[in-house]
């Protein structure tokens, strides 16, 4: 079952039985889910079968059939669904069912996709390994001793073992791209504002986007075409049409790639090696290369974390034991709230909230939060200057997927994993991570960044790279 999802959808639209595809995916889940634990909640097999049968009737009647006909989509559990719980990976929301669907979920359903379940994540998307889920760590299907990356680790893992054709993840500082790199899947962080955030449980509002994830570049493009485009419910959504992405590979001779020192250097050796192999191959095919340095990028990680923490501390203030499942026990309001929040949040979330409050408090706001927003502007301006003339080629992760437990003790070590990915979030530009190959059985990815709303450039480049590497639609076996 290594067909690409877009092909599966086309076959179904042309008359193939969607139920058969549902069974295929259910078999994969049956085989893998116990070991990987990618899902926090799975819809009932009967419910999925019924969706498939309904779709089949629709096709037989000759009604309009959507672009995602019969595809199984997994949805990160910080994206609201009205029929399955949405926990954001937190005790705070254990069992919480949102009364409404996220805009992206609505759009996926309108195109006749079948939502298979909700995927695991680091609590409130705060983490880079999916070990910080309040429920359980998700394992990497390529090596069960290792993490799938995070925070959209459940989504990536579900794709890597074939438990879904497509997945909706979210990316605040690399949360869709890092897991893609660790699982040999593809993750695209869209231009800020291209995809509606309505229904995405916020962590760092000014940085994040719901992000399409899949096993191939073309599949990611297909999902972006469905979820992208203006939504009146999100004031930060750009007033643009739904994107149309041409599925033809880039012409190498027309390519100009920029290699920014700060986004290329510093990765482990096998990653560097594969990275440069790919760049040299592209260059030998005719791509022009330019090397440059943006020294300010050394401040990207602290700027990113300062802004994310500040926004998170505010976003998470609402969880006070009133509207949500985790309650306090005292009868006094102040104590009750303190208890509910102490019980409901995990340690990393507490750290981030406290650090965010610190960064916003009188007397410290200027040296933390405001300073970070100034650094952000300078970084954005530098990045926009570069992406005007080239696509940036960058590392996706400085390290290979770590072993479970390896990076848990030291928060700074954890933050360091995002050093290459946060830049696209700070600058608002789109970035794609796709697999390049494997080292000792562990996936290695590469990252491309283009200018605002230039997702099509990333897609055509990604398609070209798929041709070079031959890695497309890979699944762990």
């Amino acid at each position: 079952m290594s067909r690409e999802a877009w092909r599966v959808a086309e076959e179904i639209r042309a008359g193939a039985d969607p139920s058969r595809h549902v069974e295929e995916v259910l078999e994969r889940i049956e085989r893998w889910e116990g070991a990987v634990k990618a899902f926090i909640s799975l819809d009932l097999p009967e419910a999925l079968r019924e969706r498939a049968e309904r779709l089949e009737r629709k096709i037989r009647k000759g009604e309009r059939v959507g672009k995602l006909a019969g595809l199984l989509v997994s949805v990160k559990d910080n994206i609201c669904t009205s029929w399955l719980p949405t926990t954001a990976g937190s005790r705070m929301l254990e069992g919480y069912v949102s009364p409404y669907n996220a805009t992206a979920v609505e759009r996926v359903l309108q195109e006749d996709a079948i939502i298979v379940g909700k995927t695991n994540l680091d609590e409130f998307a705060m983490g880079s390994t999916t070990e910080l889920s309040a429920f359980w760590p998700t394992r990497n299907p390529w090596d069960l001793e290792r993490v799938p990356g995070g925070s959209s680790g459940g989504s990536a893992a579900s794709l890597a073992y074939g438990g879904a054709d497509l997945s909706l993840g979210s990316d605040t500082g690399g949360s869709a791209r890092l897991p893609a790199a660790y699982t040999a899947t593809v993750g695209l962080k869209p231009t800020y504002g291209l995809v509606s955030r309505y229904g995405l449980i916020p962590y760092g509002n000014s940085l994040e986007q719901i992000s399409p994830m899949a096993r191939s570049v073309r599949d990611v493009a297909l999902l972006l075409e469905v979820i992208g485009g203006w939504d009146p419910k999100d004031a930060t959504a750009l007033r643009v049409e739904r994107p149309r992405l041409d599925p033809s590979p880039a012409e190498p001779r027309a390519l100009r790639l920029c290699l920014v020192k700060e986004m290329v250097e510093g990765a482990e050796e096998p990653i560097e090696k594969l990275f440069w192999n790919t760049i040299h191959k592209l260059s030998s095919e005719g791509a022009q290369l330019e090397e440059l340095s943006i020294p300010l990028l050394s401040k990207a990680l602290p700027a990113y974390y300062t802004i994310a923490f500040a926004e998170a501390s505010s976003n998470l203030a609402r969880y006070a034991g009133i509207f949500y499942p985790t309650k306090g026990s005292s009868g006094s309001w102040e104590k009750y709230v303190g208890e509910a929040r102490a019980r409901g949040f995990g340690r990393e979330v507490k750290r981030r909230i406290l650090m965010g409050v610190y960064a916003l408090s009188e007397g410290f706001r200027d040296e933390f939060y405001v300073a970070a927003t100034k650094v952000r502007r300078a970084i954005r301006d530098e990045v926009l200057k570069v992406v005007k003339r080239c696509v940036i080629a960058a590392q996706a992760s400085p390290i290979l997927p770590p072993k479970i437990g390896e990076r848990l003790d030291d928060p700074l070590k954890l933050y360091y994993m995002d050093m290459y990915t946060v830049i696209a979030n700070l600058a608002g530009v789109p970035a794609l991570v796709q697999p390049l190959g494997f080292s000792q059985g562990l996936p290695i990815g590469i990252q491309w960044m283009a200018g605002p709303l230039e997702e099509s450039k990333l897609i055509s480049l990604g398609l070209l790279v798929e041709e070079l590497t031959g890695i497309k639609g890979a699944m762990a076996e």
Partner: protein, 96 residues
């Protein structure tokens, strides 16, 4: 790095998180380390002549014309409802 407990307590009060003594100890140390790391932005910003950037595209936002959208029924939410009102603990003692 030295840990300032009064600062942590003030932050925990503002964030309304009841921390145990043990948690205070470890989070306090973590916080000092993280803050030490993040302090780099304060230094960097001093050398920049940049205005803060809050919304990455710096564009004006949209306004909403009246329309209809779905309501929420309070009964659907995991909250305590009394005669239509949301009941919250206020000055009561222990409830467990």
């Amino acid at each position: 790095m030295e840990c300032r407990k009064e600062l942590l307590e003030r932050l925990a009060e503002l964030a309304k998180i009841a921390l145990s003594e043990e948690e205070k100890e470890s989070i306090c140390k973590d916080l000092e380390r993280i803050a030490g790391y993040l302090r780099a932005v304060g230094e960097a910003a001093k050398e920049l002549e940049a205005e803060p950037l809050y919304y990455v595209w710096d564009l004006p936002g949209p306004l909403r014309e009246p329309s209809e959208s779905p309501k929420v029924s309070i009964e659907e939410l995991p909250t305590k409802v009394k005669e239509g009102y949301v009941a919250v603990p206020w000055r009561g003692g222990s409830v467990e």
